[in-house]
Every structure is written in C-alpha cells, then in structure tokens.
Amino acid sequence: MKSRLSALAIAATLSVSALALSGTAQAGATFDGVKQKGYVQCGVNLGLYGFSSPDDKGKWSGLDVDMCRAVAAAMFGDAEKVKYTPLSAQQRLPALQSGEIDILARNTTRTLTRDTANGLNFGPTNYFDGQGFMVSAKLGLKSAKQLNGATVCVLPGTTTEQNVSDYFRANKMTFKPVVIEKNEELNKAFFAGRCDALTSDASQLAAIRAAEVQNPNDYVILPELISKEPLSPAVRQGDEEWMNLVIWAFYAMVQAEEKGLTSENVDAAMTSPDPDVKRLLGVTAGNGKALGVEENWAFNIIKQVGNYAQSFERNVGTGSKLKMPRGQNALYTEGGMMYAPPMK
C-alpha cells in the first residue's frame, strides 16, 4: 500500500511540476485568489490535540490553526476568515499542489526533499519538535545527559530506537532498552516503573502524560531533543507574495513576544515610543505596503490571535492539558530558537 501511495505521490509530483512550470508567469495568483474569495483555505490535521483539532463544540483550535488565523488576520483584519480542510497524511502535499488549499499547517516536518521535489515551499518553523525523554519527577533529573545506565522504554524497529542508541553512544553513555511492541503496553510499562525513561517525540510524550497521569507535574520531559522535527507551514511554489505574507505573519507573533506585546496590551502599545514597536504596529508606515496588506496587519494578528507565547501556552503549554515546556521553542533570548528577523 505504502509503495502504491508513494508511486501515486511521484506521479502527482511530476504533473504538479509541469503545472508549476507553466504557472510561474502569473506570480501572485494565490495571494490575489485568497484576497478575492475572502478567506484563507487552510489544510490541517484531522485531529491532533494542541496543533489542530476540533473541540467539544466542533470549533478548530491549536498551534497550527493559529498560524492560519494569523495569516487571515494580516490579510483581512479578521482572524475568523479561515476555512479548514482536514487532511490525512497521504493527502496533505497533493492537496497543496492542486490548489485545494492555500496554506498547509498540519504538523509537517520540513525536509530537503519535501522542500525541493514537491513543488512547495516551507515557511518558518512554528514548532520545533523532536525525540525526547520523559522521566519521573522523583528522580530529580535536569538533563538527558544524566541518563547514563538508565532503562529506557522504546518501540522496536523504529527510527526512535536507532536515535536513542546513537545518542547514548555519542555521549559515551550506556542504557538498557525495554522493547515493547505496542504503544499502550509501552506506556503502561513506563508508568508502572519498569523503566526510568520513556522516549518518543516530545509532543507525543506530553500527550501520553496528559492522558495517563493525574498530576502532570509528577513526570518531566527533559529539555534535550535528540532528533529534528521542525514542524513548519508550507505554501505552493510560485507565489512569493503569498509566501512573504505567511512568513512575516508568523514572525510578527514572535516579534510581538520579544517586545512584550500581548493581545491585552497591544491597544496601549500604539503610543509606544519604541521605533521597532511603531514599525511593527504600523504607526510608522511601510511594512504593510511592502507586504501588500493594510498597515495595521500585525496589530490585528496580535490583537486577535496573540503573540507566539500566548498561542503556545494556550494550545500546548501551561494553559493546555499538554503542559509542554517551551524548550527549543523559547525565544532566542531565553535559550530557545525562536528568532524574528528585523521587521523594517
């Protein structure tokens, strides 16, 4: 099945590259198209808690959903002007290539081959995921480097298992793997105390913790991530205007966090003397015109969606059931990798 799907995907890729080549003359087609129809068509996950999932009332929320809402806020001044297309993993890239969606925000890892071969471009990473370790808080560990000699619960035959042994070898440490076939059994074994650490993608660990443990503080996700899963939004190749808007809509949220602007205080910040804030909020004109949108585009994002910290905490951080630490997703000033280029 898998090879069949990938064969289809290759066929899709070929036909799309043909389309993309013929379509390069009309740059800005997506940008103008979105503006004309009056909403952003956003490809999301069918349901991944914290990133994109419908809540009990069927309303979409999540970190990826906020990415789309930010773009809509920048474009239309209204974060609600988004339509969601839930996509399966097989569908997501062809859906973007065929023009069915305008932006793909579906926990998609940015890789070289995806970036080059599939006729699409990735924006800035809105969540740095990667394989991590979860341990009991009673052990008092602060770093994965302290795991020497630990027993580690891991699924067999996956890259996950490979990553763990590579990491321990590289750091001249040893570990005892407890290999269990089934996810449910593996989690049970960990919480029953059969191993010191459980390893999987950090976002996955947080979801497991939230589901299985009454008090999430009893277990800690260590800050080291031993694999790279930069989850990034993607757009179709051939429309740089649209791509620019997606990129800078995200950076506006990061910049807002850096400058301490939140959805609550952004109104008051309009009178701020800081030249960076003035440019970001459009008090000093220029950024909006360069992007082809209203000058108050970033103000609308911050007001309606919030800055990156607000979005993070609400969806996956302390304000959510996942209680994920910021880790690599903190600002560069706080030891993370979130960094917005100068917005001028």
């Binding site: 099945m1 069949r4 799907l5 289809l8 066929a11 899709a12 036909s15 799309v16 389309l19 379509g23 087609a29 198209g33 069918l46 349901g47 991944l48 808690y49 999932s53 419908p54 809540d55 009990d56 009332k57 069927g58 309303k59 979409w60 339509k83 969601y84 297309t85 839930p86 996509l87 399966s88 097989q90 569908q91 062809p94 859906a95 290539q97 065929s98 023009g99 069915e100 979801a207 939230a210 589901a211 299985e212 009454q214 059931k321 996942l322």
Partner: protein, 391 residues
Amino acid sequence: MSKQFPADQAPIPTGPVPPAHWAASYEEEPTQASTPPQANGMTALKPFGWAKDNLFNTPLNTVLTLACLALLWLVVPPAANWLLLKASWSGSSEACREAAGACWSVIVVKHRLIFFGTYPYDEQWRPFLACALFVAMLGASGVRAFWRPWLAVAWALTLVGMGVLMWGGVAGLSYVPNDRWGGLPITLMLSVFSIAIAFPLSILLALGRQSSLPAIRTFCVGFIETMRGVPLVSVLFMASVMFPLFLPEGVTVDKLLRALAGMTLFTAAYLAEAVRGGLQAIPKGQYEAADALGLSYWQKTVLIVLPQALRIVIPPIVNQFISAFKDTSLVTIVGLYDLLTAATVATTDPEWRPYFAEVYVFAGLMFWIFCFSMSRYSQWLERLANRYTRR
C-alpha cells in the same frame, strides 16, 4: 395439534440421517402427544424435560453444554460489570479514573462532536433534524402501504428540506458550507446516496455486460473489472487527491461530491455482478417466451426479466448495501469527517484518551443498529417477494 401420531407410529425421517441435535426435535412431538400435559403442575417441569432432550441427550452434547455455560459464566458477569454495573455514567474524567467499569461520560461529553463533527455548535439541531427526517423517510419507504406515487413527491420534498437544513442560507438560517459537515449526516448521506445512485447504474451495467453490442459490452466489462480490481481506498484516493491535479488551478470540485462519486462507481461495479447473477439464473425459456410474444428488448427486460432476476438477488444486493454502508468509514483517508473519524478525533483529547474503547464501542453500536436494520428488512422483503414462489 390437528394430527396426532400414536407413539409407535412417529414419523421416521427419510433420506440422510439428520445430525444428532435434530433428533430431539423429531422425537419431541410424539413424546408430548403420548403423554398429554397434566393439570397437576407437571408443566413446571417441562423446561427440564426440554433441556434434557436437547442439551444433555448425548455425552458430547452434555460436554458442549457445560463448556458453553462455563464460557458464559466467564464472559457475561465481567462484561455486564464493565458495560453497566460498575460503569461511570456522568461527571468528569477524574470520576472515570475511580470507576472500575466503562467510562460512558466520555460519550456524554463528546457525543455532539461524534454525531455532528465540526458543524457549528449552536446550529447542530439542523443536522439532527435532517438526520431524523432522513431516517424516518427511509423507514417509511420500507412500509408497503406507503408504496404510492406520493412517496416520490415526499422524497423530493424531504431532500429539499434536508438541503435547506444542512446548507441553510435561506429562511433566516445561516449558511453552513459542506466542508463543515461531519459525523452521522456524512455517513448516512454518503451511504444512502451512493447506494441509491449505484443500484440503477448497476442494473444498466449488468444488462450492458450481457449486451450483444460489442462496444457497450466491452465498456461495461472494462468498467466493472477495473473497479473490482482496485481497492476502494485507491478509488477514493484517486477521486480526492489525484483528480484535482488534472484540473486547472483554482477549479475545484467539491470534496464530498468527489468521494460520493468514487463510492458510487465502486458500489455499482460490485452490485452489477450480483445483478448479473440474477439475470443468468432466469431460465432461457423466459427470454424466448418474451421474444415469441413480440415484446421489445426493454419490454422484455422490464416486465419479464428484471422482476424475476432482482427477486433472486436480494440477499447479495443487501449484502453489498451493508458493505457499502460500512465502507463509508474509509472516507477518513480523504479527510472527511464520517461518524468513525469524528469518534477517533474525540479520542485525541488527552483528558479522555484512556477511554477510547468506550468511544469505539459506541461507534460500533451505531453502525450495528443501521446494518442490523438493513439485514432484518431484507429478510422481510425476501419473504414478500417470494410469497408466490416455493423455494
């Protein structure tokens, strides 16, 4: 009891010897006839007599009966405890952690999401009403007294009513685009519409496959064999993922419509083969007699062949209907929120994730209700269709 056999003249079964468990029922009647029920309370002992004759009449049956009882003893009390007695019926997920049984509160919390997906919350009475209307009409269409011309009118009105309810945009109802539909309405509509369109299509395909015109025959054979040669998942994948790539950029055909088209064509191919089975079962004399009467091809087909052929193939056709209903759950691969997908999404909430079994049991129950009704209805229909025929 119009006829009573003396005990020594009990009817002796002829032909192959029936299996042991039949023997009891053959012997039962004469036994009763020879010892008529007495008025002194002997009737209370009858169940024991029945059990002795049917369940413990041979050593093998005794062993099997005891084994079954032991199995029931092992299965039923824990199942009842989990499902009902020790289950938690309301409250938070904390209450569920305490409970030893199932956590049905997850259904209480998530039932709107499971039934209606991402349909706007405050408007969910609309899909509810639409589904109720739809199911009521399906039920009514099965009743013989309602098989009148006005049923077609009622259906037309129902479909318009459902469209108005689901889409809105008129009569003060807000517009809800169909990419926000989900849950039960999607499952019901996909299955019923694909079956309703596929059935006539399949008859044409089956007739076409037997046609003497080479072009039509080749087309029908080619279509049926292609569709039967690929899994439904590939058909859906082609319809939903590949098809848009061949359209000019910006031109999109509705996702729901694409999935519906894929399912319809797939179901039609399978149904066509079932119908062909019926066509081939009609004795050649029927065709020849119709020809001899000077009937045209369509007269012959509609008046003589199809009424007989379709009656024969009710079981395989209903089998296909049930299978099509269950296949709707595959549309998750093209990102549609059918009932099962919505149920799966409900279990992604970490707070309720430990109770995924309850959610799937519930979704399974919903599917079972619809499939079982279809199966019962088909049995009734078969009896009706065959009432003048001895089979």
